[in-house]
Symmetry: C2
Subunit: 164 residues, 2 copies
DNA sequence: TGAAAGTTGTTATACTATAACATAACAACC
DNA sequence: GGTTGTTATGTTATAGTATAACAACTTTCA
């Protein structure tokens, strides 16, 4: 049985997710002369360790378990770099971070967070953004950034008995 | 010149906002046998002290300046009560709380947060909720709660010079 | 090489929130 | 009125999240 606390239940080879994310990040950083140092790359890999958002201090623990002897600022700096380059997102309602599923272009993302398995799926539905921009504009508000975090049950968890 | 750090620039008698909020809260709590104690009422008034979200520790400071000699749990308990009864909302991206502008009915609210004056306007546009529910459903996700926090410039602040 | 810019190390501290347990106030019933 | 169960508050300690400030090191490039 797959470990749903560790990776997306839908069976897939998650190592490929990580590899692809790092490759994509490397490409993007090269493009803009951003330096994806070893530490930053390692933090990116840890954020991509699963499809569940991860907290800064959990990242720190994992780094330490690998022999790294650092302090919180190191992790937060790496996260800041990754955020600045659009490689990860911050989930405000969880104080946690998750890999961006289509980095490169500027976007803020819309996140579906499963209350049961805690996995996050990133959407970027222009219809949603449009509805918000339009609704804001109707009262004269000029929107620049949207935080959209939706809770509910993912399709897999809906199929399970309630008490499971 | 109005103090934009203290209340909504659009001129209005903010004491009426506070009074109305407390009256409405009293009514709602009576309806459901919720006890709006003095402390809870005072916290509600402080949350309604302006149209800017306020942090729990700022509330604590203000209570202390009034002679109250309490600790964080007291404030967080009052906030929890007010949240549970739909009298205030929590702004996740600010770790702060703001009065609900139409308490009573169950709703999660959509918040427009001005980057300049920090005032918050609550929207509840069904079109936005619908767009999100629909978009979620398209990938099989059953949404139960939405966190929507939009940053930008309110109409008043748009009219000001950029450097002001 | 040497200065400038960028990155990481290190220590301390600020800010946000809750656990755990004690006491007090309230409500309802006998 | 006293008893009792329930809710609310007080109190202390601690957990969890994030940043300030400054020192040391690395890379870049003139
Ligand atoms: Zn994966
Ligand atoms: Zn799930
Ligand atoms: Zn007002
Ligand atoms: Zn404004």
């Amino acid at each position: 049985m797959p470990d749903i606390t560790d990776q997306r239940f839908t069976p897939h080879d998650h190592r490929r997710c990580i590899k692809a994310a790092v490759a994509e990040a490397t490409r993007i950083c090269n493009e803009r002369n951003g330096r994806l140092t070893e530490q930053r790359k390692r933090v990116l890999e840890l954020v991509w360790g699963s499809h569940q958002p991860i907290g800064a201090y959990t990242i720190l623990e994992q780094l330490r378990s690998e022999g790294f002897n650092g302090a919180p600022p190191t992790v937060y700096r790496a996260l800041e770099f990754l955020l600045d380059h659009g490689l990860i997102h911050r989930i405000e309602s969880l104080n946690a971070y998750t890999g961006c599923s289509h980095p490169g272009d500027e976007h803020t993302g819309q996140f579906l967070i499963c209350s049961r398995c805690h996995e996050v799926t990133e959407l970027d539905d222009p219809a949603v953004s449009r509805a918000i921009t339009h609704s804001s504009a109707s009262i004269g508000f000029a929107a620049t950034h949207q935080v959209i975090e939706i809770r509910g049950l993912c399709s897999h968890c809906q199929a399970l008995p309630h008490d499971q």
